[in-house]
Every structure is written in structure tokens, then in C-alpha cells.
Symmetry: C2
């Protein structure tokens, strides 16, 4: 039987809110067994860009990354957010190692090819270094991963954290029984984004397609779910979506949205 591995992605408002972040990190510290944390950047990068007068453009939810924005996102994600989280987790007894996709060639990406839109220094994941991740986990290390990758020639690339979570989960599914959790400030996939009680408890790929077709799912949730269904079809044991501060209940299955395997 494969060993269990829990991969938690945290993002959205959780990172911007000190109390929510602290409670989420406490839950993460208390999780038994092998685990990986993958974080996004919250509003900090946008705020810093604003202060520095570097204009930000989002296309399809993805930041257009010019040279100055790459510097800002690398500083914020791999610098401030990553090291702050690691310091908290180490103080909670976690043997946390803060890394980006650059370190030990963890995640190689290719610069997104221009299809009418120039995304700048945005990377699409090409290869996750399973050997390095397995070796860290075998040595009792808990990786905390910032969403910066590289192209193998020394160029840093900004990469979507949901995608990184998905790719890391898929890559490790051969070796581990992986639970992948997309956690944020909402209690799950909601039929009405303003109403937490409209949460869907379980969703299949077919239901997702239907809801997408009838525009009953919040647009921001669609790439997350597409990523998540891809993961579950690629051998990831279970995918859960829900509130970061409620991690224990989310993992126990008493809250959040669980993705159903199969096409039915």
C-alpha cells in the first residue's frame, strides 16, 4: 500500500489575512504524516507593484509578467511570504524547507508561447523533479513551495500556484496515495458565491461540465476545478476544495467539496 501524502494549496484572501493565515498554518503544522504546502501570493504583489508604479495587467486571471513584475513576484512569493510562513511553521516544530521551483531544479517550465497575447515571463510547467521531492519527504522534510519556476537557462518564470499544486500532486501520485486540497477563504464550490450554504458536497466531472455550461459556477473557480479534475484522472487519490481555516473538517470530509472520480 502506498504511503499517504497530503498536499495543501493555500491562496486567495488567506495569505492576506494574518489571523486566517496563522490558524491555517497551525492546522498544517498539526497534520500527521508527510505533507507539502504550496502557496500563492495574495494581494501583496499587486500592492507592491502599485507602490512602485509598475502597472499590472491580468488576462484570463493570469498576471502578465514583465521584467519588473517578475522581480516583484519573486520577491513577494519566494521571499517575504515563503520565509514568513516557514518561520512560523519551524516555530511550530515543522521541519519546513521553503523553496521555489528553481531550487534543485524542482520545477522546470517553459515560457508561455505567445498566442496573440504576450504573457511575458509566465511559465507553464514542463517537469516536476520527483526524485528531489521524494528525497526531501523521505528525509522528514516538509517542502513549502513558492510559485516561481525556471526554464533551465537561468530565467525565472512566474507560474500559477494552482497549476503547481496540480502538477506536484500528479507527479507524486505514482509513489504516494495523494490527497490534494485546494484551500481558500470559501467553504467549498458554491452555487452562489455570496452564499456559503450553497456549497456542493460532491461534484463529478459531468456535473461540473453542466454547471459550467449553465454558468452556475463562479468564473474564478473554473480553472481550479479543471486543474483538480485533471489531477484526479491522473491518479491523485482525492481532491478536496474548501476553507483553509477549517482544514481538519475539510480533511475529515465533514465540510468542503469533494471531487468524484469518473465521468458519471
Amino acid at each position: 500500500m502506498k504511503e499517504k501524502l497530503t498536499i495543501i494549496k493555500i491562496g486567495g484572501g488567506i495569505i492576506d489575512d494574518k489571523a486566517s493565515l496563522a490558524s491555517t498554518l497551525d492546522h498544517f503544522a498539526n497534520l500527521e504524516g508527510k505533507k507539502i504546502l504550496i502557496h500563492g501570493g495574495g494581494r501583496l504583489a499587486t500592492e507592491l507593484a502599485g507602490k512602485l508604479g509598475v502597472q499590472q495587467t491580468l488576462i484570463e486571471g493570469r498576471r502578465v509578467t514583465d521584467a519588473e513584475t517578475l522581480k516583484i513576484t519573486t520577491m513577494v512569493y519566494a521571499g517575504w511570504i515563503n520565509k514568513s510562513m516557514v518561520a512560523t511553521l519551524v516555530s511550530r516544530g515543522v521541519n519546513a524547507l521553503g523553496v521555489s521551483g528553481v531550487d534543485q531544479n524542482l520545477i522546470q517550465a517553459r515560457k508561455r508561447v505567445d498566442q496573440g497575447v504576450d504573457f511575458g515571463f509566465v511559465g507553464d510547467v514542463e517537469k516536476v523533479n520527483v526524485e528531489v521531492l521524494s528525497s526531501w519527504l523521505a528525509n522528514g522534510i516538509t517542502p513549502i513551495i513558492a510559485p516561481i519556476t525556471h526554464d533551465g537557462t537561468g530565467q525565472l518564470l512566474n507560474t500559477n500556484a494552482d497549476t503547481i499544486a496540480n502538477e506536484v500532486a500528479k507527479a507524486l501520485a505514482r509513489e504516494f496515495s495523494v490527497t490534494l486540497v485546494y484551500s481558500f477563504e470559501k467553504s467549498g464550490v458554491l452555487l452562489d458565491v455570496e452564499n456559503e450554504s450553497s456549497r456542493i458536497q460532491e461534484i463529478s466531472f459531468t456535473q461540473f461540465q453542466e454547471l459550467k455550461g449553465t454558468k452556475k459556477i463562479f468564473a474564478g473557480m473554473i480553472p481550479k476545478l479543471e486543474n483538480a479534475f485533471q489531477a484526479i484522472e491522473s491518479g491523485v487519490d482525492q481532491v478536496l476544495i474548501g476553507m483553509a481555516q477549517d482544514l481538519p473538517n475539510l480533511l475529515a470530509g465533514t465540510t468542503g467539496t469533494k471531487l468524484k472520480y469518473g465521468k458519471s
Copy 2:
């Protein structure tokens, strides 16, 4: 016989100058055997603080670190500079792991006690985690260390990179035959800072004290040399000071300044 370990500190203008940095990283990539790179921050943190309107104060060459400045230094040192260097080194075939003193509790520090001066979030090194460093080195990993530490309660601290190099070298001297190199944009310890040919080839602690007494040594060099002599008295095999871009000759002993062991 102990295995050889080369610890290179790079700082000063090297980090700010693209060509010098590239050539230094090339030399570092080509170094045989186990090695560690420790870097400072150059002018980037000061520049970013300027752009953000965060006023900077230096006392005795050490930056007073308020909360905003801690954020800036963490972003610049552990984020942009560290990850940029790691990306370059990985592209040169180095199994580089970019870390700060926070990661896996590598370097614990205590907040400097106020002695009439409040340095803010500045840390003095308390303990270097030799087990973690040895394990990385044994696994063929090359650590690239940014000068951010923590106090064990989740608080990040800004720490002098020369001091970190010194403490890491001393901590590993029991296990390895350590060569510690302080490299920067000058060719060594100079009697006249404007004249590269005034380089001292070898210097003993007594000579250093004499030169310090007669103010023949550049003030900025004094803490570096004090650190370095402390290292050599604590079992570090040799300490070399010289030009980063000239690393092979510096290590071969044909340039730079070599510190002499003993009080004579």
C-alpha cells in the same frame, strides 16, 4: 583526513554588477568538491527602500531594520537575489538549494539587545544547524544562503552576511577541512583602498592589530577581518580575502590576502 569544503561569501558591488556576478557564479559552478555560497544584498535593498520611501539608517555599517525594512531585505535577499543566483547555478549544472537561516531551522539568532541603539529586527547568530548542513552536503546539495535568520518564535531577523559566513565556517570546521573565502570587488586587503597594488599578501592577527591601530586599514574591512580571524582561531583551515571574479587564482593562492594562523 577531513573532507575539503569551500565556503564562498560574495557581497558588495559583485551582486549589483551583472557581468561580475555572472563570472563569479561561473567560477563557483566550476569549483570541485563540496561548497557553500553565502551572499549579501548589495545596493538593491537600499534602492527598493528608496523607491518605497522607507528611510534607511546605518549604524556601524549595520542596517537598522524596522518592520518595513525587514520585509524589504527578506524580499530582496531571500527572494530576488537568492532565486536569481540559484537559477543561474542550476543552469550551470549545480544542484543548488537556495535557503535562508529560517529553512529547516538552519540559523537561529537572537534579536540584538538594545545598547543605547535600537537596531530593530537585527539578529545575532546563536546556533548553526550543523546536522542539516551536513545532510545537504552529504546528499550532493550545494546550499546558497541568504542572510535572513529567525528567533525560533516565528520572527524573521536581518543578519550580517559576513557573520553568517563566519559562523557557518566555524560550525562545519569540526567535520570538514574548511576554506573560507570573503570575496568582493577588491583584490584583497589593501593598504590604500584606491590602489589595488597595495594588497597585503599575508596578514597575521598581530599585523592586523598594528594596521588597525595606525588606521592603515579601510574601516569597512575591519569587521570582516575580525570575523575572519575569529574563524581561523576556531578551526577553520584557511581564510582568503579577494576578488570574486578572480576566484580560481584566489583559491590557488596567487592573488588575494591570506590570513596567517597564530598570534605572531
